[in-house]
């Protein structure tokens, strides 16, 4: 009457072990082949000078030459580094202030049409960045752009948003702020709404002004979320490429050069594989270091907090 204990699973322990490795294998293989190996590949390539002859590559070992060149003579890359840092810090600051203010306003006073609003705020996040670049190229165009059209209709002088070296980086930042503030807003709103309302209400009785409430209650309670968002948005804004490519291609001059664009140019327009690899390696390790340090700090902070309470 009873079927034998378990005909097909007498060896479940063994099969379970096998599943653990089999289920991880694809992910590990993909990571190794397409993200870890490329790093090694870059490390290797960065030690060579690659020239092309009759469509085939010739590798000359040059040791640290590419790095020496990068650190001493590749000015455009360092312009890119500077621009990227300025870009990252400024856009994230504005995004945080704007996003947080809006989230706070909505949280305290509410707004009508929340679902529609959320839908609209999601738009910039999910539509292809290249479409955003295209849009802003049309909007900021010198002759036929929307803004200049409106300006001249109002009888004001027009501005060369993307062609003037003093303004171009600012214009790119504007686009990025436009692009990512909604994301910060949604994140902050979710954070604010998950705060303990009872604590908030209780604390509200102890403070006398809006600013006191912000300084002593809301901001401290939100601090972990804010810190994580700031740190990771800064790191993620090192990824900026698509908009720059379409809007200014790093120009005019080096005014909107960003690290990613330098890498792209050196690799793909100038075919300087060795130099491009050295550049990639330096960027990669610098960003990785930032990520690891930031992660460590955040972990330590939350760890300490847990210990005190």
């Amino acid at each position: 009457m009873k079927p034998a204990a378990n005909p097909q699973t007498g060896d479940t322990t063994k099969r379970n072990k096998r599943w653990v490795y089999l289920s991880l294998a694809p992910v590990i293989i993909v990571f190794l082949a397409l993200s870890a190996f490329p790093v090694l590949n870059l490390l290797g390539l960065s030690l060579f000078k690659v020239t092309w002859q009759d469509g085939s590559a010739i590798y000359d070992f040059v040791g640290m030459e590419n790095y020496k060149y990068l650190f001493n003579e590749e000015e455009i890359y360092w312009a890119g580094v500077r621009n990227t840092l300025i870009f990252a810090v400024s856009v994230v600051t504005v995004q945080m202030l704007l996003g947080f203010t809006m989230a706070l306003a909505v949280m305290r006073a509410g707004s009508f049409g929340r679902p529609i609003l959320t839908g609209i705020f999601l738009l910039p996040i999910v539509i292809p960045p290249i479409v955003i670049g295209t849009m802003w190229r049309l909007i900021m165009g010198r002759e036929f752009g929307l803004i200049n059209g409106l300006l001249s209709m109002a009888g004001l002088p027009t501005v060369d948003w993307l062609g003037n070296p003093d303004i171009a980086l600012g214009s790119i930042m504007l686009v990025d702020i436009w692009h990512w503030t909604p994301f910060v807003f949604l994140l902050m709103l979710a954070g604010l709404e998950s705060l303990d309302t009872e604590v908030l209400e209780a604390a509200r009785l102890d403070v006398t002004s809006f600013w006191q409430e912000m300084r002593h209650i809301v901001v401290p309670m939100m601090l972990p979320t804010i810190v994580i968002t700031v740190v990771f948005r800064i790191i993620l804004s090192f990824k900026v490429f698509d908009e720059v490519y379409l809007l200014t291609s790093g120009g005019p001059g080096t005014s909107t050069e960003v690290v990613n664009f330098s890498i792209y140019r050196v690799f793909f327009s100038q075919d300087r594989v060795g130099d491009g690899s050295a550049m990639s390696v330096v960027t990669l390790f610098a960003v990785a270091l930032m990520i690891i340090v930031a992660n460590g700090l955040i972990q330590r902070r939350s760890g300490n907090k847990g210990g005190e309470e």
């Binding site: 079927p3 378990n6 005909p7 097909q8 479940t12 322990t13």
Partner: protein, 370 residues
């Protein structure tokens, strides 16, 4: 036939030991209840038996076969969870037959067992519903059904009745015991409800802090608790405890001024344990007092604080000798007296012969076990 044998089982999470060097043998076809306060390791022990939890040391044997390193799927045990853990995406019938299908049982057999189980549990007509469309009691039945269709050699229950209302719980208790007798498997039942344990189990295993405090039949555990903890844990209202020096004067035994009627054997026992003249703890269950008409030499004066009617019994709560004392009165016998009680009334109580326990103050061990 399925004897479960645990040999010096240990389990720890990092530095905290949850189960500490535990030995236990559960006979074939036995119904054993694991009881203990919250956090005592009942669920952990049950899951160790199931194989869901790794152990830090020891071995587990099923009918003499070492199953310590056998996967839960291969142990031929079925478990009913407190949360029921029904698969929300499967119908009642699918939930109940899932295990059989996983074991590739022939379709005819699956159907037959499903039919039987549906009948036994009164779930006919609900086969195609999803768990989300069932009441709590029905879900509980499906959870049991899922276990019984398997006809496993061991049933494991983790507080399966705790989410039911009191009436349903009482009924299910009986049904479950009946089911156990009919199926002839071994059942291990975790509960923190001592009524459940007392009414259903052949034997009770009392756990505290990951250690077994006592194993025995319900009667055994109630009548002769192994230690202070067991005495306090089993029995409701809780056993009364008084502390003081034990003195003997001829055949008369006293704690403080309270006279403890004792048999010769008891006296010998206490004498042998060397507890005469020492401070000890005295435990007397609420029903083991006699209410005297008037005070006498060794009686206990109870000042009434509160009176709780429960139907047949009356619990009288009050103060005596600086301790909280509860007295149980049978309305049929002492009805008149009970009616006349009020706050502030003083009752004179006398312990009855041998119906009390003496515990060592340090070790908590019972010094009067037969």
């Amino acid at each position: 036939m399925a004897e479960v044998q645990l040999n010096s089982i240990s389990k720890s999470y990092g530095a905290t030991t949850v189960i500490d060097d535990l030995d236990l043998t559960i006979e074939s076809k036995e119904f054993v209840a694991l009881v203990g306060p919250s956090g005592s390791g009942k669920s952990t022990l049950l899951r160790i038996i199931a194989g869901l939890e790794d152990i830090s040391g020891g071995t587990i044997q099923l009918d003499g076969r070492d199953v310590t390193h056998i996967d839960p799927s291969d142990r031929d045990m079925a478990m009913v969870f407190q949360s029921y853990a029904l698969y929300p995406h499967m119908s009642v019938a699918e939930n109940m037959t899932f295990a059989l299908r996983m074991r590739k049982a022939p379709e005819a057999e699956v159907q037959k067992r499903l039919d039987q189980a549906l009948d036994i549990l009164g779930l006919r007509g609900f086969e195609d519903r999803k768990p989300g469309q069932l009441s709590g009691g029905q879900r509980q039945r499906v959870a049991m059904g899922r276990a019984i269709v398997r006809q496993p050699s061991v049933f494991l229950f983790d507080e399966p009745l705790s989410n039911l209302d009191a009436k349903l719980r009482a009924r299910t208790r009986l049904e479950l015991r009946e089911l156990h007798d009919r199926l002839g498997a071994t059942s291990i039942f975790v509960t923190h409800d001592q009524i459940e344990a007392m009414t259903m189990a052949d034997r009770i295993v009392l756990l505290d802090g990951g250690k077994i405090q006592q194993v025995g039949t319900p009667k055994d555990i109630y009548r002769s608790p192994a230690n202070r903890f067991v005495a306090g844990f089993i029995g409701s209202p809780e056993i009364n405890i008084l502390t003081g020096p034990l003195t003997r004067d001829g055949d008369e035994l006293k704690l403080n001024q309270i006279n403890l009627p004792a048999s010769k054997a008891r006296l010998k026992q206490l004498e042998a344990a060397g507890s005469i003249g020492k401070d000890v703890e005295l435990g007397i269950r609420p029903e083991h007092f006699e209410v005297l008409k008037s005070a006498n030499d060794g009686s206990l004066a109870l000042t009434v604080d509160a009176i709780e009617f429960t139907g047949q019994d009356v619990f009288v709560v009050g103060q005596a000798e600086g301790a909280n004392i509860t007295l149980r009165m049978d309305l049929r016998r002492d009805g008149k007296l009970a009616e006349s009680l009020a706050r502030g009334t003083v009752l004179h109580l006398a312990p009855t012969k041998d119906n009390w326990h003496i515990f060592d103050i340090d070790s908590g061990l019972c010094l009067t076990r037969g």
